[in-house]
Amino acid sequence: MDPTPMTDALMESTPAAAADQTPLLEARDISKYFGAVVAIEGVSLEVRAGQVTCLLGDNGAGKSTLIKTLSGVYRPDKGTLAVDGQPVEFGSPRDALDAGIATVYQDLSVMPLMSVTRNFFLGNEPTVGVGPFKRFDLPKAAGIAREEMKRIGIDVRDTDQAVGTLSGGERQTLAIARAEYFGARVLILDEPTSALGVKQSAIVLRHIVAARNRGLGVIFITHNVSHALPIGDTFTILSRGRTGGQFSRGDVDADQLHSQMGGGDELHELTRELEALAKSERRPSASTPPAPGPTVSH
């Protein structure tokens, strides 16, 4: 599938010379085991400022484990993480956040029943007053939330409205805007488009490109090749816990990505099977009416 004209136009403003920089975040030969289960083995991944690194893989490929390792939830059993080229160890998600690495989980990012302002500042509430009279500075928070949402192109007229009244794409965008406002340099987006329709996905993809153009490094996790291909600068494929291949933009097409993900062969197989099934079913229905009841023989 070719990139759409919309994203192509956005891609032209790619910051140059991204390849010369030290990666903002780098994972080298990461392995993680859960008992006897090898979740990931020797996986490497990097993201630079102003780049979108797509992490592609089928369900169970180890994407979640890798993300959780990058964001400080798990400690890797082998391998190292590096931020700006310096080796680091994250003891908690807070450590990763402090290093500027923010993760937006697909369904665990916003509270639908809380207002836009309260969601935006959850865990980072600005306060006024001192001692026991220290309180959540809601007017200030509402002002910032409105400005930040407007900056990324969502006009929230009433920041008191519950996030549940926003569309799915807007909720993801709110989580992205929030991460960026609180100093994220690397955004890890876990399947941000998987639960969304076409239009809503487009909103999110547009904001991913916009965030990259503002100089952020983005790790975009997806199993949807047609979402990754238009906006990715590099593509890392994860298959059965191992790195299945790494490609740059332009060196790879959708078929290659599909087959590398381990889904390509299955898809071809499935297509053949379905075609055969369609043929075999068409034949009897054309000549004789379908037999009712349990008379079908094998």
């Binding site: 809380m114 959850l122 865990g123 306060t127 407007k150 006009d155 569309s167």
Partner: protein
Amino acid sequence: MASTTTTTPRAPGSDRLRNLSLTQRILARPAAGALIIVVFVWVVFAAISLARGNTAFMGIPGTLNYLDVAAQVGIVATAVALLMIAGEFDLSIGSMVGFAGILIGIGVTIWGLPVWLSIIMAMIATTFLGVINGLIVVRTGLPSFIVTLATLFIIRGASSVLTSTVTNITYIPIDPTRIAGDPLAEFFGWSMPVSIGGQTGTLQISILIWIVIAVAGIYVLGRTRFGNWIAGVGGSAGAARNLGVPVARVKIALFAMTAFSASILAAIQSVRFNSADILRGTGIELDAITTAVIGGSLLTGGYGSVAGTALGALALGMARQGIVFADINADWYKIAIGTLLLVAVVLNNWIRRRFAGLT
């Protein structure tokens, strides 16, 4: 594309928002349903009382009377509502009321401690039980419904064992002369006659304590960081943790606050009745949950209102005493409360969908 001419770019979202009238904005508040319920209950019992020729319900004696009943539920329900908004339950508060009272009774009568010291000791011990509730829930990850159901039995049983060991009965009288002159006992036993229009009622300290606790609860939930964390933890503990909210500390603090409020109620009752009884507080955990739900709190957490809970307690108190003033058989009280609860939940759900746009 040729068709992209003069349409001004519109931010996504704004074309899908309607302007709401003031009435709609008020109805979008979580406490709206409870307000409607309170007005309804008052009108019903005022009408029945009037029809039976009794004006006390509408006057100062009736008002202060049902406010006292509402206050006793409201004092614990405020903390219970905050706990529910954080996504947890506490079924053990009723047994904590009994336990705290027994500790006060033993302290004063058996150990000969001053009443104020016994009350402080009971408050510390009960709050500690709340911390244990919280620790078990946080550490085991078990539903708090189960954990506090277990501690409900354990604490109620422990109160029995404790009293039967030291007194052989389940009831400990407190000498009224010990209460006179004791600073904390005088405080929790304070009351004042209030006369309006030739009728006289009694303003109990419970009403004032309830107002202070409710206002503090509204402030904490609406205006502090901790309040934002409470709603966040109940909305999604995982997401809140990812955003740096100390989820376990928030939950444990709320269990401790709930237990502390149970000990306040125990202090009020022990001093007022000059006694402690292991059965005090039986069933108040369900009254408190009923009150919080009437007030618009969701059983699943993440949404609710302290002001609504106060209104819920008011509705409960009005119904309980309204039945007395209207000279109706008291057996009808439970039927009334059950019906109110159902009506309130349906009403709150409808309001939330219709006016707040939430499902």
